[in-house]
């Protein structure tokens, strides 16, 4: 056993004589390596155990996420083994951690993988490789997949969003403004008929979309067929009331693929233009539903239920920007990406990074938004980000300043909780959007003048006046747990 040196052992006899070598010795630490255009590149944030050499830790991540096992195996020699090895080529200390700080030392480990390691068009395979065993590896206290770059050649093996932002807007005939939605409340307990009432009031009042919540499936109080039937009555009736295309995200999440297909088929037969699934259904189910939607002209709404269990803590898990990239490839049309100003986790710059991943043709490296690499999306369709969770019309100018037009703004409580009723709540929000878009296009500085712009509209829109009065003091100003490490100016959600 050769443990005398840390250096890569290139002599074949020495390298493969059996026993245990360090990962560095086995060739997983390659500081001289320049990633190829066709390589996958990942950056992991790693927290090594006490006394573990950082380059060895990076090499271990590269090894455990590619070919390595804990001991030397001669069968490597039956392969072009160097190509199959993940190659850690760079390690940087994470700013603000380690010596002289109150945080234990963390490092960004950059690892390149040859494209041959990945099955074409399979996020399940990507996930099994990159966040498989390596995340339980003992020499690391914690590990997080911060960001990654896909080679264009691999991007082209995915069909991506079945509809995409552009075609969605063309189907709905809605341009030049954020779309407006609301999640039906209360989440649980309404019968199909009562639930449809909320849908009807919201859509007739001015919403473009209403939405099932993530945990609305087919419970005893409301079976799925009942919900679908009553919701489509509401959609069609509100469409006739307003002359405008409306939709309700029918959540088809279920126990099996067969159940999900059955529900999606029924939604199609009823004329729904959109169905919804939850992230918890898993990568293969997501790609299957994406294919189904592509075949059936259906918009696919993705609720990111469950992501907070592995995206929120900075030291361990997978960043949401990586999940967003995977979902764009896997093929969803809508994706909940945060609000920055609402009730759920989200540093503004970091959240803007997620929006960019969803909507860019080419995403540029931008450390201040947590984006480590350029990513060419190779004309893959764009995902419509959804801002949902504890937002209200009084924040309209902030939301549009941060995120622009191509998003769905979902005010659930901020619609249904309106003191004058659901229609009034919907109208207030729609007026808020329209007057803000108009003012911005006229060249006004909406971030600073936003409150005045809204106030001016209250002169002729009573529901807006009531909404602003009701929610004027609501803000969720908590410190974010997931923030960029390279901020030049601190950002807050104030």
């Amino acid at each position: 056993m050769n443990t005398q040196t840390n250096d890569r052992i290139t002599d074949i006899k020495e390298r493969y004589k059996g026993g245990v070598l360090k990962y560095k010795q086995m060739g997983y630490w390659r500081p001289d390596y320049t990633p190829k255009e066709t390589d996958f590149i990942c950056v992991f944030r790693i927290t090594p155990q006490e006394g573990v050499d950082i380059e060895e830790a990076a090499a271990a991540v590269a090894g455990e996420s590619s070919t390595a096992t804990w001991t030397v195996v001669w069968t490597d020699l039956l392969t072009a083994h160097e190509d199959y090895q993940g190659k850690a080529y760079r390690v940087d200390a994470v700013p603000g951690t380690g010596t002289d700080t109150d945080k234990e030392a963390q490092y960004f480990a950059y690892i390149a993988y040859d494209i041959i390691l990945f099955e074409e068009g399979s996020i399940a395979n990507v996930a099994a490789s990159l966040i498989g065993n390596v995340f339980s590896f003992k020499p690391l206290k914690a590990a997080r997949l911060e960001d990654m770059r896909f080679p264009v050649a691999y991007v082209k093996t995915f069909k991506g969003p079945p509809t995409g932002i552009i075609v969605e807007r063309e189907r709905l005939d809605k341009y030049g403004r954020p779309l407006l939605g609301a999640t039906m409340k209360p989440k649980l307990g309404l019968s199909g008929k009562n639930y449809g009432r909320v849908v009807y009031e919201g859509l007739t009042g001015g919403l473009d979309f209403t939405k099932d919540d993530e945990n609305i499936n087919s419970q005893p109080f409301m079976h799925w067929r009942d919900r679908f039937l009553f919701c489509m009555e509401a959609v069609n009736k509100s469409q006739a009331n307003t002359g405008e295309i409306k939709g309700h995200y029918l959540n088809v999440t279920a126990a099996t693929m067969e159940d999900m297909y059955e529900r999606a088929e029924f939604a199609k037969q009823l004329g729904s233009n959109i169905v919804m699934i939850d992230l918890v259904v898993g990568w293969s189910a997501i790609q299957s539903m994406s294919n189904w939607c592509r075949k059936n002209d259906m918009i696919l709404h993705m609720h990111r239920a469950g992501h907070g269990t592995y995206t929120r803590q900075k030291n361990h898990g997978v960043s949401f920007r990586v999940i967003a990239k995977w979902l764009r490839l896997a093929g969803v049309d809508h994706l909940h990406t945060g609000t920055a100003v609402g009730k759920l986790e989200g540093d503004p710059m970091t959240v803007q990074g997620y929006y960019n991943v969803c909507r860019d043709s080419v995403t540029k490296q931008d450390y201040s938004r947590g984006i480590f690499f350029d990513q060419d999306w190779a004309d893959l369709r764009k995902v419509m980000p959804v801002a949902s969770g504890g937002i209200h019309v009084g924040q309209m100018h902030q939301l549009m300043h941060l995120f622009g037009d191509d998003m769905v703004l979902q005010f659930g409580g901020g619609t249904i909780g309106h003191p004058s009723g659901i229609q009034a709540g919907a109208t207030a929000n729609r007026v808020g959007i329209e007057c803000m878009v108009m003012a911005r296009n006229e060249g006004r500085d909406i971030l600073n003048e936003g409150p005045d712009i809204l106030k001016a509209a209250t002169k002729w829109c009573k529901p807006l006046e009531t909404a602003l009065e009701t929610w004027k003091d609501v803000a969720f100003n908590y410190t974010s747990t997931d923030t960029p490490d390279f901020v030049t100016t601190p950002t807050t959600s104030n």
């Binding site: 552009i166 807007r169 063309e170 005939d173 341009y175 030049g176 403004r177 001015g206 067929r225 039937l229 489509m232 009555e233 069609n236 009736k237 469409q239 006739a240 009331n241 307003t242 002359g243 405008e244 295309i245 037969q269 009823l270 004329g271 043709s361 004309d379 764009k382 109208t427 729609r430 007026v431 329209e434 007057c435 878009v437 108009m438 296009n441 006229e442 060249g443 509209a457 002729w460």
Partner: protein, 139 residues
């Protein structure tokens, strides 16, 4: 009723100055501006009548207002909208669309329900304005 298609249907009717400000915004972005009109505002009627071609690479919003005035004169009781089109790769679609004129009385839509097997209902929406053969107001 009051149809709510477009960017600004929940706001009070736009003045010519407001219409022009939006046109100027589109021009500043390099977008093409077009005018369309119809008597059939059905939500799935995507092909309204074009009032001339989209104006590509225009410099002055006055041209749009000039054409809009002519369209209004010719179609005094129609729906008229102004659109902006972005031909950037990856967009190549409409990026603005707002109604600038509508009939004094909007007749609205009829919703027909055809009961089908089980509790299934097939819905058909039709614009009352297209009920009469002479529905066209534009000659």
């Amino acid at each position: 009723m009051h149809i709510t298609q477009g960017q600004f249907s929940f706001l009070p009717p736009l003045t010519d100055a407001q219409i022009r400000a939006q046109v100027d915004y589109a021009i500043s972005k390099g977008w093409a501006v077009s005018i369309e009109w119809t008597d059939d505002p059905h939500p799935r009627n995507v092909y309204w009548n074009m009032w001339g071609h989209p104006m590509f690479e225009i410099k002055d919003g006055a041209a749009v207002i000039f054409d809009l005035t002519a369209c209004r004169k010719a179609c005094p009781n129609a729906y008229i909208k102004v659109n902006a089109f972005d031909n950037t790769r990856g967009v190549e679609s409409m990026v603005m669309s707002y109604i600038v004129d509508r009939p004094a009385m909007e007749p609205g839509f009829k919703l027909v329900r055809q009961e089908s097997e089980g509790r299934m209902v097939r819905y058909t929406t039709s614009a009352y304005s297209t009920d009469t053969p002479d529905g066209c107001t534009c000659g």
